[in-house]
Symmetry: C2
Subunit: 264 residues, 2 copies
């Protein structure tokens, strides 16, 4: 067994797949845990490398340990759309689900814990807890896909970018190295390039750049480095985003508490 020490504790419904989390939170049986240990191995991918091709069933179910993966669909005319990012704790591979209809590539250097598909699916049948975890995981992804739909449905790019940054804050807040509280404000590391961001938000890199600087002009963010954004005014950012990604801003508040707690 390789070293799996990562934890994942999301603010809202968690469906993490790191072994530690599994054991503690999901109440997996000893048998299930032992099996998982047996059938797993750590894979490393360099940025840009392909993890899974579209149209084929990957030989394993994967759980991201470090780094960021992007899920993307390539259109006939060569355009590429990114339909989601996978970070620490995220699971992919369509257990029981048949072939993948999208490609998965490493957006950064990445470590993935891979569970061989056949024994994993077999284990699924005799471990209701793992099975439930898979269901919750897929539902979680469905919710997030719908969040993206809301963001993409927005007419103005500034709103989309603001929504993206909020998602980064709320959803990726458990991932080390992405968020860092800094006396009052918040430093967020944007894990993908402008081009990828454009593919994700359905626009062009130029528009992304302009939107970043437009948000900076209003004062709600600061651009410390191209990929290091300082969140100066989370509420203003939420207002820019249409203020809805954070339902009732409860999530926002709990986010702030979490960050303060971690900083303290």
């Amino acid at each position: 067994m390789k070293d799996i020490s990562t934890m994942r504790s999301e603010i809202s419904g968690t469906a993490g797949f790191t072994l530690d989390t599994l054991i503690r939170e999901a109440g997996l049986s000893d048998d299930a845990v032992a099996t998982l240990r047996d059938i797993c191995s750590l894979r490393r991918y360099a940025a840009g490398q392909t993890v899974a091709e579209a149209g084929e069933e990957p030989g394993f179910v994967g759980c991201v340990q470090t780094g960021v993966l992007r899920m993307q669909k390539t259109l006939h005319d060569g355009r590429q759309h990114i339909v989601g990012l996978l970070v620490e704790g995220d699971v992919f591979g369509r257990a029981l689900g048949g072939p993948l209809d999208l490609a998965i590539e490493a957006a950064t250097d990445t470590e993935v814990m891979a569970f061989r598909r056949a024994p994993f699916e077999a284990l699924l049948l005799r471990s209701p807890e793992l099975d439930r975890l898979v269901i919750l995981n897929v539902m979680n992804e469905l919710d997030r896909a719908r969040d993206w739909m809301i963001i993409l449905g927005t007419p103005r790019i500034r709103e989309r970018l603001a929504g993206f940054l909020l998602v980064l804050c709320t959803r990726f807040c458990s991932v080390d190295h992405l968020l860092r509280p800094r006396n009052g404000s918040l430093d967020v590391k944007v894990p993908i390039s402008r081009t990828d961001l454009a593919h994700l938000l359905g626009t062009r890199p130029e528009s992304i750049s302009r939107a970043f600087h437009a948000l900076a002009d209003t004062g709600c963010i600061g651009i410390r480095q191209p990929d290091l954004i300082e969140i100066r005014d989370l509420d203003a950012l939420a207002a820019e985003a249409g203020e809805d990604e954070l339902r009732g801003s409860n999530t926002l508040n709990s986010l702030l508490s979490t960050l303060r707690a971690r900083a303290g």
Copy 2:
């Protein structure tokens, strides 16, 4: 038991939940089928009625029998985004998944087969086949949500509308009263208003109208009535949509065969 005679045979991966389909295709045990019969009841909703509120866990898992439901999220500022439609054979209710984060409303008059949640979830634990069906159903919805993401990521409204019409053709082709082949061309009933369509495609009703007429001007569709569109040239429509929603146009071809078969 009420009369459940609807069938659902999708072109691609089906995860229908009508009892007949369940019995035949999923190999459900007699026990499971009997239980489902016991815990189901037919509910009727008038157009505009709310089926499930956001934020609460509905008391049942539902399967659409007739009509169309819309899943929508309401933003703080009152804007509403539709994140998907539910038609004949579609399932909703987040079995095992906790509270719903979106509202479900009847877009048209609707009949829903409702399975009481608690016994349904209990059955899930002792029927792996039903369990698998639920997983596949959620994965199916995830795929479709990502298809919407692609459509929404498109900069031009004409492309989005063309994509929507293609989805209507490919995904809803099994639903009676929505598609009707007519000597060479194809009549599609658009089950929602321009306003809802705008909410779904992330734009305004005016733009929807203009996009419809722009497509009509190019000749690929005809507007017989505001909600009755004649598909004149499916290939041209696919080209307008970016030609990618139909992967390799295999789906397109099989769609046409299906329609021809049904017409013949």
